[in-house]
Amino acid sequence: MATPQLDDFDRQLIEVLGRDARVSNRKIAADLGVTEGTVRGRIRRLQQEKLIAFTALTSLGTQGAVKLAFIAIQTEVDRVRAIADEIAKIPKVTGVLITMGRSNIIAICLFEELEELVTVASDQILAMPGVHHVETSIAVKTFKYNARVVKITGAGAIPEAD
C-alpha cells in the first residue's frame, strides 16, 4: 500500500465533503478561492484513485434498531481467501477482514433480530468447508465509530454529477 500524494487542497476538499457531500462545486470553489473546474477535476481524481467515495449514511440504531456483531472465524489456513470471499457474499455481512491473530477472518455483521445473526454465524459461516470455529461478540454499546475514514473496496469509480 503506497501512500498517495495529497496536497493541502485535497485535504481541504476531503474535510469539506466529509461534512456534507451535497455542497455544490460552485460553493466549494468560492469558499476555497479556486475555479469550479479545479474542484470538479480534483474530486474526480480522488474518486478515481479510490481515496474518496460519496455515500448516504443512515443511522445505526434507529433504522429498525440495527445492531452490530463481530464474528471471529478460524479456518484452514490454505482456504482462508476462498472462505473470506464466500463470507463477503452474505448481504448482512458488511465487513470482512483477513487477519493474523486469534482468528483468520473477522466478519462484521449488521442485524435487527438475534435470529439473523445466528443464521449468519452458526448456519451459513460455520457450515462452510474449512471453517473450524466461529466466535460471535455483539456490540452492546458503541463509544466511537468513525464512519468517515474507511476502506474503499468498491469496483470502479462512482460517477459524479456536476
Binding site: T55, A84, A139, V150, E160
Partner: protein
Amino acid sequence: MSAPTITMDDIDRAIVAHLRKNGRATNQQIADILGLTAATVSSRIRRMEDANALRVVAVSDFSAHGYNVLLEVAIEVEGRPASEVAEELAKLPEVFAAHLVTGRYDIDVLVALHDFDGLADLMLNKLAKIHGIRSLVPAIAIDVVKYEFDVAPIEAKDG
C-alpha cells in the same frame, strides 16, 4: 437541538437508495428519475438530515490519511468498569471504533496506524496508561475483502 424521530416512507427510501449510489447527484437529477419535483427531493433530504436519520458525505480511504496498518484488538478488562476503559480508548486518535461487546472479551477496538513503528508509541505511551486493561489480543488485518460503510451512528450536525 431537538432531533425529531421520523418514519421514512418508500419515497424517502428511494431517495436514500439513489444518494447511496451517487451522493453528489443534484436534486433535479434525482427528481427526474423518481418522477418528483426538485423541491420535494430537497425538502425530504433536509427533513431526514434534520432528524439525524441521514447524512450525505464523502468518506475517505485509510490510505488517503497515510494509514497503512489496520488492527482489530480484543481487550479484557479487570478491576474497573469496562465502559470507563472504552471511553478512554475512544479518545485516542488511532482508535477508529470502540465497542463494548459480549463474549470472551469486553471491548473491541479498530486501530489504524501509519506504520508498525506507531505500534510502540500506542502500546507503551498510550495503552499502558489506561488503567483496567488486563490483556490485549490483536489481529492484524492483512487484507480487507469487504468494507461497507453506509450504516453508522450519526452524530448531530455542528454548525
